[in-house]
Subunit: 222 residues, 2 copies
DNA sequence: GGAATAAAAATTATCTATAATTTGAGAAGG
DNA sequence: CCTTCTCAAATTATAGATAATTTTTATTCC
């Protein structure tokens, strides 16, 4: 019954730490001390070090030999870099996924879009948004590509969360609807074009400065 | 004098193992036993395990909890996946690098192209080819993008080496020349278009079956 | 008072040891 | 002869211990 895959301790630690970094609970530049983390997870530091290697590969942490590991910092340039990578990779994935999209999948994506519009806070919105993208891209069946996109989503989400500590506001995402509409009509090129612009906007437009400007930036985070 | 950064043991092990996997010295599916590797490198298995995590993230090895790590296998579908990812990411990089390309860089790339044409074996060719691509892409200054491309190059090289165990033959790579020519004339869109096709061809065309067909496939591996 | 320096504390990287799981060889049964 | 079981050997995963390096704190000298 209750199959408990409960994989290695290292992977659990890396998941938890990745989540904290993405959510901003661990600030950029913060030191990750292996003994402290080991103590928190009630293990030795060996699995912790393995988790660090994973975070490093994901671009969420930076390790300097003998000097420890810290949370990776990121600037606007990197946010744009990630956005552009996502744009080309998601378009590639969508092109391959298109032929495998069923009405059922598109309905599920529609649900995710609705859920995003109704989200009460930025975390709920991000989860729904991620689900939307994953649903329409996963049918491409390209594991490596999907894994890369997941990592880039995490990086995007970091930026998103850092900009909206507070002040969320419901709103309809027209891009998501337009993508679905195009896909339902079999116009996959059009869907890909919208997706590309949709994603590429991240990090452009008004700087996420004071809370006042926050609302404007919303539209450009997908 | 001889500054010896000689970073952590784990990173050295991961570099060596990655090289062996790419060159095909370690066959797909082969088990990587931590104690044996530790013994070979005269260390304990702890750094070895850290190296494994790195290889896993690069897609060169696959780890199953409690069952060990094996060299990742790859099929034609994955080769194409990697080729398509490279195509879109390298084009993205080139678009950003274009404005920063100097005549000196293009000359160095020309050298690399010549070196590739004169290569006596497949390893020499691959090294020159990689150098060519890196030279024209690095000026984009996007670290994450370049790191992803490097990983994809490793995956491509694996395929290349598996196809050409022997039977190398000198030959001029016209695509490389055409890309440089376009770049020298400031036609970066044209250069990007050629690059895209150049890379995308990998894994297409005649199957790398018997040694006889090998020659044909050459033209389409870049 | 502040830079320079030396001793102490904390932290990383690695090694050795132990527990737990898997693989594989051989024996028993159909 | 092939399957299934049992037990030993090999292997993985984690813990605990040690050496080496970095960071911090305290102290001296100008």
């Amino acid at each position: 019954m209750g199959k408990e895959p409960e994989d290695t301790i290292a992977s659990r630690i890396s998941r938890v730490l990745a989540d904290r970094i993405v959510r901003g609970e661990l600030a950029p530049g913060a030191r990750l001390r292996q003994d402290h983390i080991a103590e928190e997870f009630e293990t030795s530091h060996v699995p912790v070090r393995e988790a660090f290697r994973r975070l490093e590969a994901q671009g969420l942490a930076i390790s300097e030999p003998r000097r420890g590991v810290r949370v990776a910092s990121f600037d606007l340039a990197e946010v744009r870099e990630v956005a552009e990578m996502r744009a080309v990779l998601e378009v590639l994935a969508l092109r391959h996924a298109a032929r495998h999209l069923t009405p059922a999948i598109l309905d599920a994506a529609e649900d995710a879009a609705r859920e995003g519009d109704a989200a009460a806070d930025v975390h709920a919105w991000e989860a729904a948004n991620r689900r939307f993208h994953r649903l329409i891209l996963a049918p491409c069946g390209m594991k490596r590509l999907l894994a890369s996109i997941d990592d880039l989503h995490a990086a995007s989400a970091r930026f998103l969360f850092s900009a909206w500590q507070s002040g969320w506001e419901k709103r309809t995402d027209h891009d998501h609807r337009a993508i679905l509409s195009a896909l339902r009509q079999g116009k996959s090129d059009e869907a890909a074009a919208i997706l590309q612009k949709h994603v590429q906007w991240i990090g452009r437009g008004p700087q996420p400065a004071k809370t006042g400007a926050a609302r404007e930036t919303f539209a450009i985070v997908g």
